[in-house]
């Protein structure tokens, strides 16, 4: 324990130092710090990651007296009087816990102190882990939960001989809790869930094959695992969302991403506690919102499509902000009389009715015709047409509620509606493409001849003004918690898929990562700035890479030898078990946290590799210890063998430490000329051309 705490302090001290030195926010701190502030201010925002990580940051800030007023505008801003140490300190302490966790995991898997020491040293002396965990980022929190889950899984595996004992339950449920934590910080947490799941299934399969256990006992084992590894994490994960929605109850920058019903929950939003008529009637003034995320409201304005883009009629677009030009009047297709005339009775719009939508500000009708749309050539153009509401038969649309039969009224907010153009049979939709300058960079609206139901062509009515109808409170329309949960997940997934790299940009590729091909600039560019550069310690990383290759080689040699029935001496037998079982689990972890990135279409960054890097460092520890033992055993007598082993481990430790001494300015920050200059502190250390520090 003493040993571990010393590690912690050793690790934290330098970090503290750099915290004080670098009083400017680095890189993604602008995002996550800002989100922490949002929690403190209770304003609603949207992010592609689940909320737990940011909530913890917010909590740490709150407890340490940060008031949520710093703006986190751009990298390089000074914190000045703002108290940010709590948030950074929280992330740094979670980050420093990674080392003891890795130490304990390897100790449990290999039962060898040198292996565990080697692993701990590799992680302590890695500049990348250090850099990543000294700022307000999600990664230290994510890695903390991943490593904690791994550790508790390994612990409960080693309790397998005493099932249903107190430590067994403790580690099992702790695994579940950490899984929930990992998933609650980033969706990448799914990989550790797969790993634990795989471990559990093989464990159960093993128990099931043990004929000395009755089926009832096996059933008990199964239930315990379902409870602790499925029910418990799910409950905790849902609970984080419950807290998230409870805390964030004020309208904020994230509103527009969510559906109208969702926005009604947020105080300060104009849908909150609003009361509007429930059913759509002729003469109502409405805004129409597309159901897909970040498309916005149906919009028109007094500008024509330019020459050469379909017919020169008024533009129709979608627009994310609330504006008078989003208002449309719903009218009957065949009369132009004013339905708001008090002498007429109220007539509701029903599913299947033929209607006309008149733009309130310009009195032009929503119109479509056989001209190709400005950007999506296979669709038809949508325009505003007619004078004072008088147009032609191309202005007629059939209004349909999705999944409904004929004759029903149409509800505000709740009904999902489609507009079908009567003459061409196409459906009103938005392609989501941005129009050029002439369209004010709003989004293209088209009429698509493909009738398949996609969210792009489904709309709902949001604002609704009709003086002849009674207003009802929107409270009854508030969505239930499961609905909110589902919606926020859909929005997050779509947001993640939307993060696509651009063609002409340099992007980080997964194959760059293990070879430490290129780092990430955290702060500072010019030679006068205080620069921090996220880059793994090349010695550690290349050793890891070599170890994976060596592991595959030695592992397959041993496996083939065992399959051929070669008789191994007991000592070798034990070592090969460590290599195959323990090492195999770590290799699986590395693969699960690395290979899925090859399949991802979203934009990737270097720091995505760090969870995998933790696993590969642990593998390195196990592998070198085992290999050195094997070497020593095959070469010499016992005293010399011990000597060889000790010398090997110590030289690896010293190598890692010396390389850390060389590369530590990357993490703690450097000032002065860039590395190509011989006067720079990093002169001669730019071993790869692609490192730009």
């Amino acid at each position: 324990m003493l040993l571990l705490s010393s590690w912690c302090s050793e690790r934290r001290d330098p970090e503290r130092g750099s915290d004080f030195a670098g009083s400017c926010c680095a890189w993604d701190e602008t995002h996550f710090g800002k989100m922490g502030s949002y929690y403190i201010n209770r304003t609603f925002f949207f992010d592609v990651h689940p909320p737990l990580g940011k909530m913890l940051i917010g909590l740490a800030g709150y407890l340490s007296g940060y008031d949520g007023t710093f703006s986190f505008q751009k990298p390089g801003d000074k914190y000045e009087h703002h108290n940010y140490m709590g948030m950074r300190g929280f992330c740094a302490s979670l980050g420093s816990l990674l080392v003891p966790f890795a130490y304990l995991t390897v100790l449990e898997l290999s039962k060898s102190l040198p292996a565990a020491l080697l692993t701990a040293a590799l992680l302590t002396f890695d500049t990348g882990c250090l850099t990543l965990s000294q700022y307000i980022l999600l990664d230290p929190i994510l890695m903390f939960f991943i490593m904690a889950a791994m550790l508790s899984m390994v612990k409960y595996n080693s309790c397998a001989d005493r099932p249903f004992s107190a430590p067994w339950w403790f580690w099992l449920s702790l695994t579940g809790i950490n899984l929930a934590g990992a998933l609650g910080v980033k969706f990448v947490g799914l990989f550790i869930i797969v790993q634990v799941g795989w471990n559990t299934i093989s464990d159960l399969w093993h128990l099931f094959g043990d004929l000395s256990l009755s089926l009832v006992t096996v059933g008990k084992h199964l239930t315990a695992r379902i409870l602790c590894l499925i029910v418990l994490p799910l409950a905790l994960y849902t609970a984080t969302y419950a807290v998230h929605f409870m805390v964030l109850n004020k309208s904020g920058p994230g509103d527009g991403f969510f559906s109208s019903a969702f926005q009604a929950r947020l105080s300060g939003n104009n849908l909150h506690n609003a009361s509007i008529p429930e059913h759509l009637a002729y003469g109502s003034v409405i805004t129409v919102k597309n159901l897909r995320m970040a498309i916005g409201y149906l919009h028109s304005h007094r500008h024509l499509y330019p020459e050469g883009v379909g017919a020169r009629q008024q533009q129709v677009t979608t627009y994310l902000h609330k504006d008078y030009n989003n208002l449309w009047i719903i009218k009957k297709h065949n009369t132009n009389s004013d339905p708001l005339d008090p002498s007429f009775p109220v007539e509701f719009v029903r599913h299947g009715d033929i209607i006309r939508l008149e733009h309130k500000e310009t009195s032009r009708n929503l119109h479509s015709h056989y001209h190709e749309a400005p950007l999506t050539r296979k669709h038809y153009q949508v325009t505003g047409y007619g004078i004072n509401g008088t147009g032609d038969s191309n202005d007629f649309w059939r209004i349909e509620v999705v999944n409904r039969k004929f004759g029903n009224r149409i509800k505000v907010l709740r009904s999902r509606i489609r507009f079908i153009h009567l003459v061409t049979g196409c459906v009103l939709g938005s392609s989501g493409k941005v129009l050029p300058k002439w369209g004010w960079e709003q989004l293209e609206v088209t009429c698509t001849p493909y009738l398949k139901e996609t969210l792009n062509s489904i709309w709902n009515v949001e604002d609704h003004i009709n003086p002849k109808l009674p207003n009802i409170s929107l409270d009854v329309l508030q969505p239930s918690f499961p609905e909110i949960l589902l919606e926020s997940h859909m929005v997050m997934i779509r947001g993640n898929n939307g993060l696509k790299p651009k063609d002409n940009e340099f992007t980080s590729k997964p194959w760059h990562w293990p070879i430490n091909y290129q780092g990430l600039r955290f702060s500072g560019i010019n030679d006068t700035d205080f620069r921090v550069y996220l880059l793994g310690n090349p010695v550690v990383w290349w050793l890891n890479l070599l170890s994976i290759a060596l592991y595959l080689l030695s592992g397959s040699i041993i496996a083939v030898a065992m399959q051929r029935g070669a008789r191994l001496p007991p000592e070798v037998e034990g070592l090969s078990q460590v290599l195959l079982r323990g090492g195999g689990q770590l290799l699986l972890g590395w693969m699960l946290h690395y290979f899925p990135f090859f399949l991802m279409g979203r934009i990737l960054y270097f720091h995505h590799y760090f969870p995998a890097m933790l696993f590969s460092s642990m593998l390195t520890g196990v592998l070198w210890d085992t290999l050195l033992r094997l070497c020593a055993w095959s070469l010499a007598s016992s005293s010399l063998a011990r000597g060889i082993h000790a010398v090997g481990i110590v030289s690896l430790l010293l190598g890692a430490a010396y390389s850390f001494y060389l590369f530590h300015p990357l993490a703690y920050g450097m000032v002065g000329p860039l590395a190509q200059d011989p006067r720079s502190p990093m002169a001669g250390l730019r071993w790869l051309e692609s490192w730009d520090f």
Partner: protein, 708 residues
């Protein structure tokens, strides 16, 4: 059996009978066949070349000259198109897959009855027939998939008795060849290849564990398999590309996408221009510079008289210097002269002084004689990068910064000479170390919608959009500007020729094929993988111009439903047996258990590997992508039926009852086949009423003429 299948499936109607272009894919494939006939180079991102080459072989044997305009579905073939021989090969492959289904089930050690059942089911599957009768590739792919599986099974069965015999070698090699052919037709073939590899790996693992074999013997086995299943397919795959590149030796419609070096290796096109250019770029050389990345469109470094607008629309200011852009068309304004900063002359000395890696150069725009310049002014559309301009001296405090260091990216030595076409170079600005880059954005009207060129300051690494190569090149001779303009307008002519190695051309072509993107993300008949299992979608291939005879890709719904059901039953039974065996209760004798597992691994596994990956794909998907998976699923059906009858029916009575049920079910499938026949063959014009009656599912799109 084959003849029978042939007559039943193909001959009742002549293959050429719809003498019209019958589906959107026939349009594409037909185009490619025409290109092969005319030997024009083309690039197709949808798959490797073997499939197209096989179709083209059919055209070649039929004497097709490639003169037909494949532009719309429903166009009638002219008399020079040998429709019969073009469609022969897919039809042949489709007919052959019937006896192969029989063979596979037989080789899996199931009864003749089950094997016959499998063949009969494949025979009456409407979707497979439609796909085989037209000039499409799925049936050929299915043929090779089945062939790979069959030959592997034959190999396994001869393994026990006489390894290393002649027939053993034959089947082993055939497995590898069939796998590579499957991959060569469509990338999808990779899935079956991986499955075969996986099964072979498991068997090899058992072989390693077999202690009756000597170490040498095991090693021989492993080596033989590695050669046949890994080396042969790679060689075959390269061979397909080799033949492809040998056949397509003339420049064609997709030249522009390829690099200059590749284009220069084709007859005609760029080669005609670049043939005989001097190889080494020297001071005074006149060059055009093409961006290597070539996205969004291939283009050349360009400048013209117009200047950047003083103030942009968003209020930012510019330097008001002459615009530098990237222009996607050949133009006299694309010419630049490489100048030595230390001298004033713009002509090449004799002997020419070559430019080397690391040299400092200036680039002079040929028509305006202004120098390429960049400075600390934000670029018009990418404000984080520097503006690139041709320097005009306004006599204000903005000095010229026109020195560029030449950085040859693909150099072999540090004193490498800058070579035409072959060298890929970066221009690093001496003052600001910015790199000349194509940003990919289109300039607004003031820039004539040409592409923006910027100086990238914060280069985060190597990217192809910063790399340029010399395409056209000649040594400048004229001292005077007027003369020089004339010279720039004249075509380049000199003599010298170069060629790329096959591997270089292969790797470039393969890379472009994998990265070329088609933007047609929506199609009327596209569908999602979930629609396929339940047959919720169809594809209308063709409608007769006057009558309502039509061809649809539409499956035999009884077979589809029961095949899916069989898969579910198989998986459930397998789980049940596995659990019971784990508790040491063996329901099946060991040999029939092994048979059952192997059949499942190949058939259910074949279905899974050919179906599940589609959920991860982002390209446009169609119903016919499911057909390879379906074929494997159909093979599983008789296996499951026989298993139920053998092991789950306890008494003789149950067994006969079950057989009766199977017969009834099969006649039901035959009936469905017969009913859907007109839509499969397109030989009969149905009335609107009959057509409406055939629309069994809401989502089926059957074409009904409004005015008969």
């Amino acid at each position: 059996m084959f003849c029978w299948a042939w007559f039943l499936r193909v001959s009742p109607l002549h293959l050429q009978l719809p003498r019209w272009v019958t589906s959107f894919d026939e349009v594409y494939y037909g185009q490619y066949v025409s290109f092969y006939m005319k030997r024009l180079f083309f690039l197709d991102g949808s798959g490797p070349p073997l499939g197209h080459m096989l179709l083209a072989l059919g055209g070649y044997l039929g004497g097709f000259d490639g003169n037909f305009l494949w532009n719309r579905i429903g166009a009638e073939y002219s008399s020079n198109v040998p429709v019969w021989s073009l469609r022969l090969l897919p039809a042949l492959a489709g007919a052959l897959s019937v006896p192969m289904a029989y063979q596979i089930v037989w080789e899996l050690r199931f009864s003749h009855c089950a094997a016959m059942g499998a063949a009969l089911l494949v025979l009456i599957e409407n979707a497979l027939i439609t796909q085989a009768r037209l000039m499409l590739l799925e049936s050929v792919l299915i043929f090779f998939n089945l062939l790979a599986m069959l030959s592997y099974l034959k190999l396994c069965n001869s393994q026990k008795h006489r390894p290393f015999s002649l027939s053993w070698w034959f089947w082993l090699t055939l497995t590898g060849v069939a796998c590579s052919c499957a991959v060569g037709i469509k990338y999808m073939g990779v899935f079956t290849y991986l499955l075969v590899l996986g099964v072979a790996a498991v068997h090899a693992w058992h072989l390693i564990g077999d202690r009756t074999l000597s170490n040498v013997c095991v090693l021989c086995h492993l080596l033989a398999r590695a050669v046949a299943l890994l080396v042969i397919p790679v060689i075959m795959y390269l061979l397909f590309f080799y033949v492809h590149l040998v056949l397509l030796c003339r420049s064609g419609p997709h030249d522009q996408i390829m690099s200059s070096a590749f284009q220069a290796s084709l007859e005609g096109g760029l080669a005609r221009i670049t043939q005989g250019q001097p190889l080494e770029v020297a001071y005074g050389s006149q060059v055009t510079l093409r961006n290597v990345f070539g996205k969004p469109v291939p283009c050349w470094l360009h400048s013209h008289q117009n200047t950047y607008p003083m103030i942009y629309e968003n209020g930012r200011g510019s330097s008001h210097q002459q615009q530098v852009t990237c222009y996607p068309f050949k133009d006299v304004n694309n010419w630049w002269i490489v100048k030595d900063p230390g001298r004033h002359q713009l002509v090449v000395n004799s002997p020419p002084r070559p430019v080397r890696h690391g040299d400092i150069v200036q680039l002079v725009h040929g028509m305006t004689t202004r120098l390429l310049n960049t400075h600390d002014v934000a670029a018009p559309l990418s404000p984080h990068s520097q503006e690139v301009s041709c320097y005009i001296d306004y006599n204000i405090s903005m000095p010229a910064q026109n020195l560029w260091r030449l950085d040859i990216v693909n150099r072999e030595s540090s004193t490498e000479v800058w070579k035409t076409i072959l060298s890929e170079v970066r221009f690093v600005h001496v003052n600001t170390s910015a790199i000349l880059k194509l940003s990919g954005a289109h300039l607004p009207d003031w820039g004539f919608r040409q592409l923006e060129v910027v100086g990238e300051k914060l280069s985060p690494g190597y990217h192809e959009s910063m790399v340029w190569n010399v395409e056209e090149h000649r040594y400048g001779r004229s001292q005077e500007q007027k003369e020089r303009e004339l010279e720039l307008h004249s075509p380049t002519q000199m003599d010298l020729s170069r060629n790329l190695s096959f591997m270089a051309r292969f790797s470039e072509l393969q890379w472009r094929m994998l990265t070329v993107r088609s933007d047609d993300s929506e199609h009327k008949y596209s569908s999602t993988p979930l629609d396929w299992v339940t047959l919720d979608t169809n594809i209308a291939y063709w409608l007769h111009p006057t009558t309502s005879a039509q061809i649809h890709l539409l499956g035999n719904i009884v077979i589809w439903a029961s095949a899916s059901l069989a898969t579910v039953v198989y998986v459930l039974l397998l789980c049940w047996y596995l659990l019971r065996r784990r508790r040491s209760i063996c329901d099946l004798p060991e040999d029939s258990w092994l048979r059952w597992v192997l059949a499942g691994a190949l058939c259910a596994g074949g279905w899974a590997v050919n179906y599940l990956p589609f959920f991860l794909m982002e390209k446009t998907l169609f119903l016919y992508h499911y057909l390879p998976a379906l074929t494997f699923q159909i093979l599983l059906l008789p296996v499951v039926l026989q298993h139920i009858s053998d092991h789950l029916c306890r008494s003789q009575l149950q067994r006969s009852l079950f057989s009766a049920l199977v017969v009834a079910w099969y006649s039901c499938a035959c009936h469905v086949f017969n009913t859907l026949r007109p839509l499969t063959y397109g030989d009969k014009s149905l009335s609107p009423g009959e057509l409406r009656a055939l629309r069994w599912k809401e989502s089926w799109d059957i074409l009904i003429r409004k005015h008969q």
